[in-house]
Symmetry: C2
Subunit: 190 residues, 2 copies
DNA sequence: TTTGAATTGTTGTTTATACAACACTTTGAA
DNA sequence: TTCAAAGTGTTGTATAAACAACAATTCAAA
């Protein structure tokens, strides 16, 4: 741990900016939000914004991945085994996240959001896979993580566009055996 | 106007501290709130607290007078004549303020609060009186303001301790003619 | 197309705030 | 009572953030 505590001002300012952005997102569409809007709401100087974030897209990315990670960390990372229950919790978290997004009017940025979600999923899957098979070859685990992340993300899109009335659990449950089989299969090939 | 704009950081920090204090006040009693509690909630350093406020009583005083002033400014200072309607609005604002205080568990500090309310009332009455009779002697107006502020404050205490079911308006209405007569009487003596 | 206003990024200087350390007081339990 | 823990209030130094000014884009309206 290189725990060189970050300055309280940095933590506070980041929080103020992110909170301001989230608050604004529920009032306007993303494309209508300017940096000045955010800094005014957050009560910080505009130059300070650029001290913390490259631009407004960088902020979007960090807010989204943080919200998603909070969604996950709470009830996922404790059950650290990649079994049926884990997939159910994970899929539910993603669909919840997407519901909260659509409430916040982030339309028109699906591509950015998609990339962020998928990247986060890949990171999570990879961590879980490494934890479970420390011995396996790294490249193979990475590839498995890639495939799982795209697959699960795609499933969540499918759920969102067609079957929102169906519960996420029942939506994903039928394919979980297939996913697990893939992981196990890879196992045996090592 | 000596409008040497105050630094945005000062405004923001004061707001963070006051908001944190108000938030804590709805969870704990005043006597159980420490400076550390406030600064933690506000995400500021403890030393910064002392840069802005002498101590926790100073903060209490400033929060209370600010809340009261907001209560008043909104619907009072626009009707800038000291007639029956003005007294009604003013009395209603004070009783509202006292209700919000008791919700926030500030018991045990009635004396401090009383002083703050009365001082604010005196300031307001004095301003109104000066506006209405610019020609009159200053000392007499000040004395009138003192008497009115103690009187109205006392009436609000009387209302609070005995008759909370009665509407503030009907409670104060009967004595307003007397108050107005006093003001007019003073007028004629000039 | 041109113009003017709004927005984006950036930089140098000043200042408010974080941090750590300190002595002192208050509090509560052994 | 005695002791440890928690709270108060202060100070010197390091640094994040405010501010003002700037050039460069973007964009809507004339």
């Amino acid at each position: 741990m290189t725990s060189s505590k970050t300055d309280l001002r940095v933590i506070r300012t980041r929080k103020l900016i992110m909170d301001a952005f989230i608050a604004l997102s529920s009032k306007k569409e993303f494309k209508d939000i300017t940096v000045k809007d955010i800094t005014t709401e957050a009560m910080i100087n505009r130059a300070t914004f650029y001290y913390h974030f490259e631009d407004i897209y960088d902020l979007l990315e960090k807010v989204l991945s943080e919200v998603l990670l909070i969604n996950l960390n709470d009830d996922f990372l404790h059950h650290n085994e990649l079994n049926e229950g884990a997939f159910l919790i994970l899929f539910k978290a993603i669909t919840n996240f997407q519901k909260s997004l659509s409430n916040r009017c982030h339309r028109g940025y699906e591509e950015t959001i998609a990339r962020i979600i998928r990247e986060q999923l890949e990171i999570i899957f990879y961590k879980m896979l490494v934890k479970q098979n420390a011995a396996s070859e790294n490249g193979a685990l990475k590839m498995t993580a890639v495939i799982l992340s795209w697959g699960i993300y795609g499933a969540s899109i499918e759920w969102r566009t067609s079957n929102q009335e169906m519960q996420p659990e029942e939506f994903i449950k039928p394919v979980i055996p297939y996913l697990l089989a893939g992981i196990d299969g890879q196992h045996k090939n090592e």
